[in-house]
C-alpha cells in the first residue's frame, strides 16, 4: 500500500466566506498516523469533511494517493437496524458495485476478510446492535477496510468505548498503519494523541503540527484549548474540560 496525503492552505466551512478551519497544511506518507487534536467546534469534523470532499465550500489543495474511507462514531450509528456485522462490512463494497450487479463472492470474501482483520471473524452473523461499543467500532473499521482504503479517517474512535476496548482499537490502528496505510483520528484526549506518530492541533486555524514530543507542550495546548484547559501540578500535564454541545 502506497498511500500519501498532502494538504496545502486548506480553508473550508459550511457558509461561503465563513471558514470553520483556515490554512491547514499536512504532509503524511503511508505508514504514518496522525491525531487531530482540538476542542469541540474547533474544526476537526470540518477538516475530515473537507478531506472527503463533503464540505459545502473549500479553498486550497488536497492531494490524496489511495482511497479515503471514513469511520463514524459508533455512538451515532443505529443499533435497531436489522443488520449483522457482515452486512455492515459489506456496505464498504456498495460504492464499487453498480446497481444492476449483485454483490459478488469476491465482495463477500473481502468483507469477511475485513472482519477477520479486526478480530471479529466469528461475529459475522451477530446483529450489529448486540455488539459492544468497542466491537461496533471495529466493525465500522472493517467496513472502511472493505472499501480498500489507503487513508482511514476516524471520528473520535475511542469515544463511547471502555478502556480495554479503546486500547484494542488503538493497537489495531497501529497495525493498520504498519501495513502502509495513513491513519487519521480526531480526538480531544491528549493521552490518546500521544500514541500517534504525529499530532495536528487545530482550533479554527492550525496551531501546530509535528511529533507528539514537539507539539504537546503547555503553550500549544493553551492556544488550542484556551479557557477549557486545566493545568495539573508541574504544568506538563493537563486535562481538558469538555463542554459538549451536541
Amino acid at each position: 500500500m502506497d498511500a500519501a496525503l498532502r494538504v496545502r492552505g486548506l480553508t473550508a466551512g459550511y457558509v461561503p466566506g465563513v471558514p470553520a478551519i483556515e490554512d491547514v497544511e499536512l504532509d503524511i506518507a503511508g505508514g504514518h498516523s496522525l491525531a487531530v487534536l482540538g476542542p469541540n467546534g474547533g474544526g476537526k469534523t470540518t477538516l475530515f469533511r473537507a478531506l472527503l470532499g463533503q464540505a459545502p465550500w473549500r479553498r486550497g489543495e488536497i492531494e490524496v494517493r489511495g482511497a479515503l474511507a471514513y469511520v463514524p462514531q459508533t455512538e451515532r450509528s443505529r443499533l435497531d437496524f436489522p443488520i449483522d456485522a457482515l452486512g455492515v462490512a459489506l456496505m464498504g463494497r456498495y460504492g464499487t458495485t453498480p446497481w444492476y450487479r449483485r454483490l459478488s463472492r469476491a465482495d463477500r470474501r473481502a468483507a469477511h476478510a475485513a472482519l477477520e482483520r479486526v478480530g471479529l471473524g466469528d461475529h459475522a452473523r451477530t446483529p450489529y446492535g448486540e455488539l459492544s461499543g468497542g466491537q461496533r467500532q471495529r466493525v465500522l473499521i472493517a467496513r472502511a477496510l472493505a472499501q480498500e482504503a489507503g487513508v482511514l479517517l476516524l471520528d473520535e474512535p475511542m469515544s463511547g468505548v471502555d478502556r480495554p476496548s479503546a486500547d484494542r482499537v488503538l493497537a489495531l490502528l497501529a497495525e493498520l498503519r504498519d501495513e502502509g496505510r495513513i491513519v487519521l483520528i480526531s480526538t480531544h484526549d491528549i493521552d490518546h494523541a500521544r500514541r500517534f506518530d504525529g499530532v495536528l492541533c487545530i482550533n479554527r486555524t492550525q496551531i501546530a503540527c509535528g511529533s507528539p514530543q514537539d507539539v504537546l507542550n503547555a503553550e500549544v495546548l493553551a492556544r488550542t484549548y484556551g479557557a477549557e484547559l486545566v493545568r495539573l501540578g508541574d504544568g506538563a500535564r493537563a486535562i481538558v474540560v469538555q463542554h459538549h454541545t451536541h
Binding site: 479515503l68 443488520i83 452486512g87 460504492g95 444492476y100
Partner: protein
C-alpha cells in the same frame, strides 16, 4: 364457509391485496426504519382533495391523487426549517389537505356520496382498471428499488455518512417518490385515511423480530398479505367495511407483537449489551 372465494369481486379484492403486499414489504421496511410513517399517512391524506377534484372533473383519479400527494411532499419540504420541525410541517399540510378536500367535496363539487370510499377505500369495488394501476405502481417501485435499494439501506443505517460510502444523494427523493406512488396505489383498497394500515403496520409489527433487511421485507410483505386476506374475509362474514377490517386486523397483530416484545424483555431476553 369458503364460498366467497368464488365471487369475482372477492377474487379481484384478493388480487389487489396480493399486488399491494410487495409494496408493503419493500417500502414498509424503509418507512419504519426511516421514521416516514407520518409522511406516508400525509401523502395519503393529501391525495383526498385530488380524488375529489378527479371525481368531479373526470381527470384520472390516480394522476390527481399523485399530483396532490407530491405537491404535499414538496410543501412539507418547503415549510420545514429552523422554525418548524418536519413533523409539524407534515401535520400542518395534512390538516390543510383534509380541510380543502372536505370543502371541495361538500360545497364546490358536491360529490358527498363518494367521500366515504375516498377516505376509507372500496376494496370490494376494485375493477380491472384499478388492478392495472396497482400493477403499474408495483413496476415503478420495483424499478426504483432495484436501482436505489442499497442507497436507501445505507442512508437509513448511517444518514450522515452515506456520502463517504459512494452513495448517491438522489436516493432520498427516489424513496419519497416510491412511497407516494405506493400510497396512491393503495388508495382504492384502504382509502386516504387508512393506507398506513396496509403499507406501514405490517413492517412495524415484524420489525422487532427481523435480523436482516431482506428478512424484514419478506416478513412485512407476507404479513401484509395475510392480514389483508383475513380482514377481507372478516369484512365479508361480518359485513364490515373491508378497509377498516384490515386496519383492525393489522392493529391487533401489532398489539400482539408489542406484547411479545414486552414479555421477552421481562423474561430477561437479550438486549444490546453495554460497551
Amino acid at each position: 364457509m369458503l364460498d366467497f372465494v368464488q365471487l369475482p369481486f372477492m377474487q379481484r379484492a384478493a388480487l389487489e391485496l396480493a399486488l399491494l403486499a410487495p409494496l408493503a414489504g419493500i417500502l414498509g421496511a424503509q418507512i419504519v426504519l426511516r421514521g416516514l410513517a407520518f409522511y406516508a399517512h400525509g401523502v395519503g391524506t393529501a391525495a383526498f382533495p385530488g380524488l375529489v377534484v378527479a371525481s368531479a372533473t373526470g381527470v384520472p383519479a390516480p394522476a390527481a391523487a399523485l399530483g396532490t400527494g407530491l405537491l404535499f411532499a414538496g410543501l412539507t419540504d418547503g415549510l420545514r426549517g429552523p422554525r418548524l420541525a418536519a413533523d409539524a410541517a407534515t401535520a400542518l399540510a395534512l390538516v390543510g389537505a383534509l380541510a380543502i378536500g372536505v370543502v371541495l367535496a361538500s360545497d364546490v363539487f358536491a360529490v358527498g356520496a363518494e367521500v366515504d370510499q375516498m377516505l376509507f377505500g372500496s376494496l370490494l369495488a376494485i375493477g380491472a382498471d384499478e388492478l392495472v394501476g396497482t400493477l403499474a405502481a408495483l413496476a415503478v417501485v420495483a424499478c426504483l428499488a432495484a436501482v436505489f435499494r442499497r442507497d436507501w439501506a445505507v442512508t437509513a443505517f448511517d444518514p450522515a455518512h452515506a456520502g463517504s460510502l459512494g452513495i448517491r444523494r438522489a436516493g432520498d427523493w427516489t424513496l419519497l417518490l416510491a412511497i407516494a406512488v405506493a400510497v396512491v396505489a393503495a388508495l382504492d383498497a384502504a382509502g386516504a385515511l387508512l393506507v398506513s394500515a396496509v403499507l406501514v403496520l405490517p413492517a412495524a409489527t415484524v420489525r422487532p423480530f427481523a435480523r436482516s433487511m431482506r428478512g424484514l421485507e419478506l416478513a412485512a410483505g407476507a404479513l401484509a398479505l395475510v392480514q389483508g386476506l383475513l380482514g377481507l374475509w372478516l369484512a365479508y362474514e361480518l359485513n364490515l367495511p373491508p378497509g377498516a377490517a384490515i386496519a383492525l386486523v393489522g392493529g391487533a397483530a401489532f398489539t400482539a407483537s408489542l406484547a411479545l416484545v414486552e414479555v421477552s424483555r421481562l423474561r430477561g431476553g437479550a438486549g444490546p449489551e453495554g460497551a
